[in-house]
Amino acid sequence: MMITVKLTVNGKLRQVHVEPRLTLLEVLREELLLTGTKEGCGVGECGTCVVLHDGEPVTSCLVLAGDADGAEIETIEGLAEDGELTAVQRAFVKTGALQCGFCTPAMVLTTTALFRKNDQPAIEDVKNALGGVLCRCGVYPKLLEAVTEIKGANP
């Protein structure tokens, strides 16, 4: 059985014809070749696969393709425009909120979603928001610095 899924990815309307057993993560990485979104566990525990679904961070490894029909998806590839990094991305670079970088797409997207709602999040809001994304390299302290940096840039 095949299904047709129409979704908007990074502002572009895309259509894929896939087996319903594919997850959104597989559609993004393998059908649309947007490999910036990574898998860390496949079962919702690590948050590495986070994308923004109608603006909200979700674990794309748990979303079936059919569920993505009609959705508005943002991936890491969609943030910078013409090579111009966003304020969140710039803060990550400046404060060193990345090491191996494998969790970075999810961290950047989650932070972006947080700041769209609240440009002066309290530390607890930050921890709550980022609590679902693991970083084995341990960039958490630098992430908090990055958030302070972004807050400073959004007075």
Partner: protein
């Protein structure tokens, strides 16, 4: 990466169609809500349905509505929405608290309240919170619609009394009189918040003007095969004034009512200790939310 096996996929537009597809499917059929349990269960091999029926094309299954005498929460309401709903926070604090510590934000943004009950995990956070609010679950199936108390739905770990073609449509939580309060607390492996409960306790109390406990509910997570009520402890508390000593006795009693097991997450020994501490903390939370001070 771990890949899913093949299945047929449907997105019916009405409950009737959904029930019909579920009833007709052989080889196992599953309802898909948020998928945060179902997709995991399919990846680990716990479930291998040949038919998956996505409910999200059916209107009116999501949303929180305030009636005068009850709150209605649609089965497809996301856990995030339950967590952030001011209505739920004020009317049913234990449920809002449980929702706020269920999994992590990107999972909560997918997970639904119906799926949490449908999965019937012994570690369910929303189950105990619904139980202490006397929540009823509304179901539609081949025989039509019916309703029952949430606590009556659970049969065994991962098993409900739902038939393959039964669909949870919504929950009804009666509005409580003044003097009511509730709370949910849990402890997970990392101690810090959102992990699967090693143990969890929901409590609700109804107190009169003098601070006497008129009625109460205590429901436990990960302390038995399903979420269940510590009925003996409730009895012990009823018609008494909340004192430190009473809370200590109740907590102790709840730890005896718990039916913890040893598993890779924790020992029965430790879970029993947690049952005591968490019952104490949940009761204090419920009393505080009812505006009752614990006497010395």
């Amino acid at each position: 990466m771990k890949r899913l096996l093949k299945f047929d996929y449907y997105e019916p537009a009405s409950l009737e169609d959904a029930v019909r597809i579920l009833a007709a499917a052989d080889g196992g059929a599953s309802v898909l809500a948020g998928g945060t349990d179902l997709v995991v269960d399919m990846k680990t091999g716990r479930l291998q349905p040949s038919t998956v029926v996505n409910l999200k094309g059916i209107p009116k299954l999501a949303g929180i509505d305030a009636a005068d005498d009850a709150t209605r929460i649609g089965a497809l309401t996301r856990v995030t929405e339950v967590e952030l709903s001011e209505l739920v926070q004020s009317r049913h604090p234990a449920l809002a608290q449980a929702a706020s510590i269920l999994a992590s934000p990107p999972v909560r943004g997918l997970a639904t309240i119906g799926g949490n009950v449908g999965r019937a995990s012994p570690a369910s956070d929303l189950g105990p919170a619904l139980i202490v609010h006397d929540a009823r679950v509304a179901i539609i199936g081949t025989e039509g619609a019916r309703e029952e108390l949430v606590e009556k739905l659970y049969v065994a770990p991962g098993v409900t009394s739902l038939a393959q073609s039964d669909i949870i449509t919504h929950f009804t939580l009666p509005l409580q009189p003044p003097g009511f309060g509730s709370a949910y607390v849990k402890l997970g492996k990392r101690g810090s918040g959102t992990d699967i409960a090693l143990a969890g306790v929901a409590a609700s109390v109804l107190a009169d003007g003098d601070g006497e406990i008129v009625d109460c509910r205590i429901a436990l997570a990960s302390l038995g095969p399903t979420p269940f009520r510590a009925v003996g402890t409730e009895t012990l508390l009823r018609s008494k004034r909340a004192t430190q000593a009473l809370l200590a006795t109740a907590a102790e009693n709840a730890s005896h009512e718990a039916m913890p097991i040893d598993d890779m997450r924790a020992s029965a020994f430790y879970r029993e200790k947690l049952a005591r501490v968490l019952t104490d903390r949940a009761l204090r939370g419920a009393l505080a939310s009812a505006g009752v001070e614990v006497a010395a």
